[in-house]
Point group: C3
Chain length 352, copies 3
């Protein structure tokens, strides 16, 4: 773990950005951001949980963002704020970031169809193509070598990576992020079988990503066969995820890498899905449910439940069954011992 030295900021500047109260020397110089347990000299860190307050006694951080009620220390300069984590994120982004995409305006090689309507201070990278009748809001950033298809709508402040394909008719709300290599609006895997032959069903539906949806790299989201595939407000998807046609995902749900959701399944709000989870098609998943890594979900799940395993079941039960399975060889020995005893002592048992 190495921090990046980018520039110098004083605690005074930093505290001003996040409306924090300084407890220490406001002239302290900060050169990097870091986690509290890995901070080196000159860096700023944060502590949210009282369980982590003990790090105040050992950290090398020059400054720490803490809660209003955090204990005092002579070791580091403290900046007290209501939400230290969010303050930290803002400082990292605005004062120390190199990762932020930069606006470059409309590159000379970008091909924008004359019928497209594009917003103010938009940025479109080299070799990207904006097709007919698309509508792009204000302050969007489109990367390099992208295709924004016919009739696509983007809200304001969307960020699209490189080598992204947003296919015809897809609709994105405001502040949607799509990372590089992702395909949104691919044709779903729908075929009409006739004898042994499969005929492709034309996919004429849409994909709708609501406000603040964020999609990782190399993800695929299929359009609806008819109707739509929809991901609701504030939901976040990691990399290499597959979302099939006509799936609906609720608000503020998070899905980790390499998970896949089959056709027409509905996922609720505030759901947490770990990595490499699979959902069969046409099921309904309740709100505030949680799915363990590699779970294989084969039926409806009611609200508020935590499930895991294949086929997925209540996590507590799955763990219990798994524990018994792991004692299987010993249980078999015990069963054999009883059988042997019964056979040896009760001739009648043997005959059964």
């Amino acid at each position: 773990m190495e921090e990046r030295i980018i520039n110098h900021r004083t605690v005074q500047e930093i505290a001003a950005l996040v409306n924090g109260t300084i407890d220490g020397d406001e002239r302290t110089k900060i050169v990097a951001v870091a986690p509290i347990d890995q901070a080196k000299i000159g860096s700023i860190a944060f502590i949210v949980s009282p369980d982590y307050d003990r790090f105040l006694e050992t950290t090398l951080a020059a400054a720490v963002l803490v809660r209003p009620d955090s204990p005092p220390t002579d070791r580091s300069c403290l900046i007290r704020v209501p939400n230290p984590y969010l303050a930290f994120v803002r400082i990292a982004r605005e004062l120390f970031s190199i990762g932020e995409p930069q606006r470059q305006g409309l590159h000379a090689t970008a091909i924008v169809n004359p019928t497209a309507r594009i917003g103010k201070t938009l940025s479109i990278g080299p070799y990207s193509i904006i097709e007919a009748n698309s509508v792009l809001g204000d302050d969007c950033i489109i990367g390099n070598n992208c295709t924004i298809g016919k009739g696509v709508k983007l809200g304001n402040r969307c960020q699209i990576g490189n080598n992204v394909h947003i296919a015809n008719g897809v609709v994105l709300g405001n502040e949607v992020i799509v990372q590089s290599g992702t395909v949104i609006g691919s044709d779903g895997f729908g075929y009409a079988k006739d004898g042994d032959t499969y005929y492709k069903i034309p996919h004429i539906g849409q994909v709708i990503l609501e406000d603040k949806v964020e999609i990782g790299a190399n993800v695929t989201i299929d359009r609806g066969t008819f109707g739509e595939t929809r991901i609701k407000k504030g939901t976040k998807l990691d990399n290499l995820i597959h979302i099939a046609h006509n799936v609906v995902i609720g608000e503020n749900t998070v899905i980790a890498a390499q998970s896949g959701i089959s056709g027409s399944t509905e996922i609720g709000d505030n759901v947490t899905i770990a990595g490499q989870v699979g959902f069969v098609g046409h099921i309904k998943i309740g709100n505030r449910t949680i799915f363990g890594a590699q779970a294989g979900v084969t039926k409806n799940v009611p609200d508020g439940i935590t499930v895991s395993g294949y086929p997925a079941k209540l996590h507590a039960r799955a763990k219990k069954e798994e524990a018994v399975k792991s004692q299987g060889p010993e249980m078999l020995t015990r069963v054999r011992k009883m059988e042997r005893f019964l056979k040896e002592n009760f001739p009648a048992f043997h005959k059964e």
Copy 2:
């Protein structure tokens, strides 16, 4: 589920396209396609199975494609055809589609090597590169920002998405579809180990996709180490699938998203593979086999078998074993009860 209103067609026009017999008012106006159970006013739907005939009594669809022997109704205008599903697909595609790729000819920014031979009425999108000695058939559509490598052969009527890489020497038959972000002909994962060091084996084989093969988005298909990787006629692959070097897949096989097939494995004809299934290398999978989601297939599978689970086994047996596993905690209780009884009543048992 919202339908897309694109334009108006009369039942007369629609019936003429699919050679159907009209049972109702031929002047009925149709504005959208929809599934029978979700159809709104003005839409056309279809029913194949007699089990669905009951929807004729409740649907809002203005017209329904039905079998010749389907029951009459006063509710909707019927169009009788031998295969309602295929008729529906054709109508959706030809009369109501917006998703169909459009021909745009050879874009001025497409770079076509002078030694490439390209067919009639071909379309190549902006910023795509067609390398030396490639041969592209008639009526192909190549998307944007693609690379078609050296010596690649495409048959007629192929459709290639955007940001696709078809590597040197790959051969595609007629009517092959490759969706966006897919890589065909990547080097396989083959190394010569020498001590602790791995040396890359040059992959000099090919990939061959036969007629009517269809490949989803962000798929990877590795070329043969020597020899070839081959996918036979009519086989369909979903998104994010991995096909390793020297794999052979038979005809009319379907593979759902995120499945992976390891090197040199052979898959038969008419096979059905669900999502997130994995096959180890160097095995042989029979014709008309079926694989449940997330199955881990570790050995040969004979023709006609349905398997599931990890390690994959006969589906009926896997379900039975899974059922017993799920009774494990209770079985353990029963075993303990018997042990306790035997110990308490038969001192000899205890001694064993």
Copy 3:
């Protein structure tokens, strides 16, 4: 399996390239490379293991690369070398390959920022973008439609495929290979939750790929949140793999397709990971460990261990437990039989 006839070489030329000793006619013409058991007339094959020496009696190969101590034969011309496999790889690559990327210099449409420093005899394909302050070493080959971000560093002799995005600040050593469609330096899946809302954490760390690291197609490697994601010298990744933020992978480790490693997990040196394996975050995996396909790894693994299954455990134990599970239905029958016997014969048992 078909070989590719590309050109003619004599055994004399081939033996000279690999410093081999000829045992047969040095004028023998070779037109293709092939595995020993599939070789056709005119091809060259190789044998490493004495177990394969028996193929010398049946092969059609015109020449075979063998060990110094391999038995003589009249059937094929032998070329004796210390490491027949490596000699074969070199011959395939240098004399018979078509897959090798070819240098084309800096294409006129490649956009290289004036502040970028690029090495000697570099090749950059059409429609690729090299952004500000990047440093590319000598003899690198960058494909088509790629983005090399701001401040990226590439060593010498790197090969980058097509449609690749190497994001701001990523560092590659010498002889690194990245295949098409891969994204290196995407933002990790890190959010600060506040109530039900997720706030994106800015990812300002790096990705470092050390010398001779090789990455397959459509892989995603996230940058560190702070600090770095690092893959050490000589490690090889297959296609469609996900590497999360702050993961560290040791030297000479191989990871097969569709595996995923969650945030901050550390993988040791000389590790072998099969396909579709998943690792939870924040665990530590020892050196020379081996992971079976589809394993779900939930905790630390010490050096030298082979594990499999979900949750992953010692492979030998996992197999034993799996074997007992597969006898579950029969064990249940045996338990029922004993219960029935005890109930029928001992009224006291029933009462318990």
